[in-house]
Amino acid sequence: MNRRKRRSIFDIMGEYMEDFRRWAEETIGLVTGEQPSWDTGTCCLEPLCNVFVTIDEVVVTADLPNTNPDSVRVKATGEDLLEIRAEMKRKLRFDDFGITHRRGEFSSFRCQVRIPVPVDTEKMKLYLKRGVLEAHLPRKRRQRRLSN
């Protein structure tokens, strides 16, 4: 006969404390605008990203070390949003960063980047070299005439 193992009161309290900590961090993040660059729920790390706007195009770059190049995915999730995803070659845990008071592991990178000007996402070109992703998006041209 299988007997279900009872969880101890300390396990239950630990889970409540973990839920409360997560809620508190999310709330503080929403108020201050500062959010952690990791998410243990989705096992994702947020990569460093930059957006450069030139006359002809918008260049989005992301630092993706320790990633498998074939796993890099970039897609437009809205008119002005670009989502970057990539799987890591090796899973990372908080311990790998020397952090012992948190638990969780990370297996991928994920971020959303806001594009400040209208772009043509259909003509996006991607380059990945030295672990740095470059997405080139041509700008949409809007011709305007001077009125008399």
């Binding site: 460093l48 930059n50 770059t61 630092d63 070390p65 320790n66 960063f97 672990g131 740095v132 470059e134």
Partner: protein
């Protein structure tokens, strides 16, 4: 630099606070920074050293300016070993480059936010030379 991805071996440029130190760098085979300008703490140190005629050098490696770049750091250290004769092993710095980039991610993010707050982007404006 914008096309750092395409550079396998980052070049290192030298700058010095006076002519004799600059000559020494040239004799060691280092390429001298002839164009551009320096900013930040190292520029300030160099300026004070030039004013007081203290010998000082700056080694500037081609690097990502917005991402951690252990390869560029290794290139600068290699040049330093060439100049001073000190032996420094940079193999681990290169081998563990990806790990260092991951570890430096959050501090770099904080730096980027601070740079935005300080309007650091002015650094990239075209200067007015007279």
């Amino acid at each position: 630099m914008p096309d750092r991805q395409n550079i396998k071996d980052p070049k290192v440029f030298g700058a010095a606070s006076n002519a004799s130190v600059l000559k020494m760098l040239q004799e060691k085979g280092l390429e001298i920074l002839r164009e551009g300008y320096m900013v930040g703490p190292q520029a300030l140190v160099m300026r004070y050293c030039a004013e007081k005629n203290l010998p000082a050098i700056a080694l500037l490696a081609q690097s990502f300016y917005n991402y951690p770049d252990p390869e560029a750091a290794a290139a600068a250290i290699k040049e330093l070993t060439n100049i001073t004769g000190l032996k420094v092993d940079v193999s681990q710095l290169i081998e563990k480059g990806e790990e260092i980039r991951l570890r430096a991610r959050d501090i770099m993010k904080r730096t980027q936010n601070e740079m935005t707050r300080m309007k650091k982007s002015q650094e990239y404006d075209l200067p007015l030379y007279v």
